[in-house]
Amino acid sequence: MANENQSKPLNVGRWVTWSLFALVLMLAPLVFTSGLGLTVLSQMGIAIIACLSYNMLLGQGGMLSFGHAVYTGLGAFLAIHALNAVSSGALPIPVSAVPLVGGLAGMGFAALLGYVTTRKAGTTFAMITMGMGELVFAMSLMIPEFFGGEGGVSGNRVIGKAFLGITYGPPIQVYYLIAVYTFIAVVLMFAFTRTPLGRMLNAVRDNPERVEFVGYNTQRVRYTAFIIAGFFAGISGGLGALNFEIVTAEVVHAARSGAYLLFTFLGGATFFFGPIIGAILMVLAFVLFSEFTKAWLLYLGLIFLFMVMYAPGGFASLIMMNLRVASFGKLRQLGVSYLGLAVTGLVALAGAAALVEMTYHLQLSSSLGSEIVFMGVTLNTSGLDHWLAASVVMVIGMGLFEMVRRRFAREWEEIQAFIEMKTNQGDAQ
């Protein structure tokens, strides 16, 4: 059958992609050798598992959850308690297995809370998850035994006998543990999308009513997927507990749930690898971007708004669209326009960002004097001329951007029409 012939080259491609992924995970610390680099990489691994597990609900199941941090967070708490139990000798498992405890906790809580949560769909589901998230966070302040009160719960991962020289003392060892878990988790979650339950979950997303009419209980499909997502969420939390050796109530806060949503969406919920991009962006934003500018949350919010309006499929969809254009040999044509968009866009952004930064400086750090350094240029926030200059730059940039954008839109339309014609020809044969 045609299917089998197609799968052979596909299989090779698949092996290559996964091998590359494993290679990147293995060699990344050799490229980013600094302490900061290592901690960023570790956090990326943790975030990748969390965002992929979130997308099992959002992108694959059509379930918009505002409370995913509950499962990553509770997994983290149970993992840190398990770690302490391992330290005291009460729990005879290797430290490497502690994230699995987190996974089981995530799974357990998902089974418990998920039954009520998955009863409804759509907007109601979203609000239930929000309520659950608030409930758990509020309870975290009430039960200090489990949640550790203000200071959270700490643990020590350097315990027990060293196994093959691995003590988890040095961060590099923790990174490789995270890398192994990340690889296995990603493989498993990808495999899930290829199973009957995974496919029926997609069907539930597309048309929950029809699913009932092909013999499946829609709620059962959602509930089962919810539990599986909870398992992986818990693993992510457990790895976080090992990495930071401390878990505070912040891990179940609504802000974290919001971050999962924001970045998974930004990365792209409609493709499997989208959340991976989102997770990487999330860590970069929280660890690095926030150091660059105080206005990072504003920028983030605005970027998110733009993405929802113009690219609801996230960065992943943008990449895929361009790959598709490239496969028809038309990407070169867009090169000039893309360059133009980039240049004019950057100019407009520079002007806008200068204004934003100056405003933030006025509001937050005016005591430090009226000058700020922006992209190597010293700007005086008290002088009107700099404000004017920034505004002019921004307006000119926006005007030029609009001009280039129109040209780009025309070219894009032409190419899409060309592709359409080509595919129709292919079908007709």
């Binding site: 059509g62 409804k120 309520g131 409930l135 949350l297 605005l302 309006m309 609801p312």
Partner: protein, 344 residues
């Protein structure tokens, strides 16, 4: 006794505030199917804009101007952003309001700073609306405004006098909420535009076919919802605190109200708001825990039990999670909500 009355009134006023917010949310949801995640952000904007306007021209003009400004912002957002997203479905609509809530929070902090503002109510509303005086001998009596000091203390040590003031701001809140409720109801049921809105609720295409500009109606409804939230913000901000966290504080509760009351049901939202408002107000006032209740009942609990976290938890500590407990219970026992007819 006076404690009960005052607490009841406080609870009612808080519940009515919740209703002012959740009614706008319900209207927007019913009309457009959009769950406005940024509704509490409009509430916050109302408070901040109200503060600024009242600094210039006083509180009473601000009461009119601020909601209009916030309403215009809401309508503008609908026109520029939300409208573009309608065609993608309900999830992107929710997401864009979610993004808006982040942006509004940042902008508010940018313009007005991160610390709480002193948004004082006008002279007329400062102080109590009335004071309940519980005199051991004379019984319960009421005094408009502030009760003079001599009425609140008794020379005789055997007589106990307790004065419980009811803040005028709270009373004003209730008044505005009731007026708003009646006004909206009249608008929807008695005016032509109200009827059009009601029909656009369930049959937007038919309404459009009849020549009404449905996108414009959506913009108006969204703006109106935002304006109502802004109005609630002016009142809430002057009664309670005006600070960046105010959106988050009230935001999740109104979503609970909407679900508990039944998605799309105004009367359900009313019932749920009042219920949650009253219960939470009473709960905060009670410092009772299982331990203290047992003590009062004369039950003797062992040392271990008395030290148990759950036993020691007072009702006032638990008060913040009560709305969410309600949510879970309603979803288990009555998923449609108290008065809901739609499945959402």
């Amino acid at each position: 006794m006076e404690f009960f009355i005052i607490s009841m009134l406080n609870g009612l006023s808080y519940g009515l505030l919740l209703f002012m917010l959740s009614s706008g949310l319900t209207l927007i949801f019913s009309m457009m199917g959009v769950l406005n995640f940024a509704h509490a952000s409009f509430y916050m904007l109302g408070a901040y804009v109200g503060y600024t306007v009242s600094q210039w021209v006083g509180f009473w003009p601000a009461l009119i101007i601020a909601p209009l400004v916030v309403g215009a912002m809401g309508a503008g957002f609908e026109r520029v952003c939300l409208r573009r997203v309608h065609k993608f479905g309900h999830v992107p609509e929710l997401l864009i309001t979610f993004g808006l809530s982040y942006v509004v929070l940042e902008l508010v902090q940018l313009v007005w700073g991160r610390i709480a503002l002193e948004f004082r109510p006008p002279e007329l509303l400062q102080g109590p609306a009335f004071t309940l005086i519980n005199h051991t001998v004379n019984g319960l009596s009421m005094q408009w405004g502030v009760a003079p000091a001599e009425m609140c203390s008794a020379a005789d040590a055997a007589i106990r006098v307790v004065c419980s003031p009811f803040p005028a701001t709270r009373g004003f809140m209730m008044l505005v909420a009731m007026v708003m409720l009646v006004g909206v109801w009249l608008l929807l049921t008695r005016t032509r535009i109200g009827l059009v809105i009601q029909s656009a609720l369930t049959h937007p295409e038919a309404v459009e076919a009849l020549g009404h500009n449905v996108p414009r109606i959506f913009m108006l409804v969204f703006g109106a919802g935002a304006a109502l939230a802004g109005l609630a913000g002016v009142i809430g901000g002057s009664t309670f605190l005006t600070e960046p966290a105010m959106a988050a504080t009230v935001g999740s509760v109104i979503f609970v109200v909407v679900v508990v009351g039944g998605m799309g049901s105004l009367s359900g939202a009313f019932l749920a708001s009042v219920l949650i408002g009253v219960i939470q107000t009473f709960a905060i006032a009670f410092d009772y825990s299982v331990a203290t209740v047992a003590q009062q009942l004369g039950l003797h609990l062992g040392e271990a039990s008395l030290n148990n976290t759950f036993v020691k938890l007072t009702l006032s500590q638990v008060a913040p999670i009560l709305p969410y407990l309600f949510l879970v219970l309603i979803l288990i026992f009555r998923p449609k909500g108290l008065l809901g007819t739609r499945e959402g």
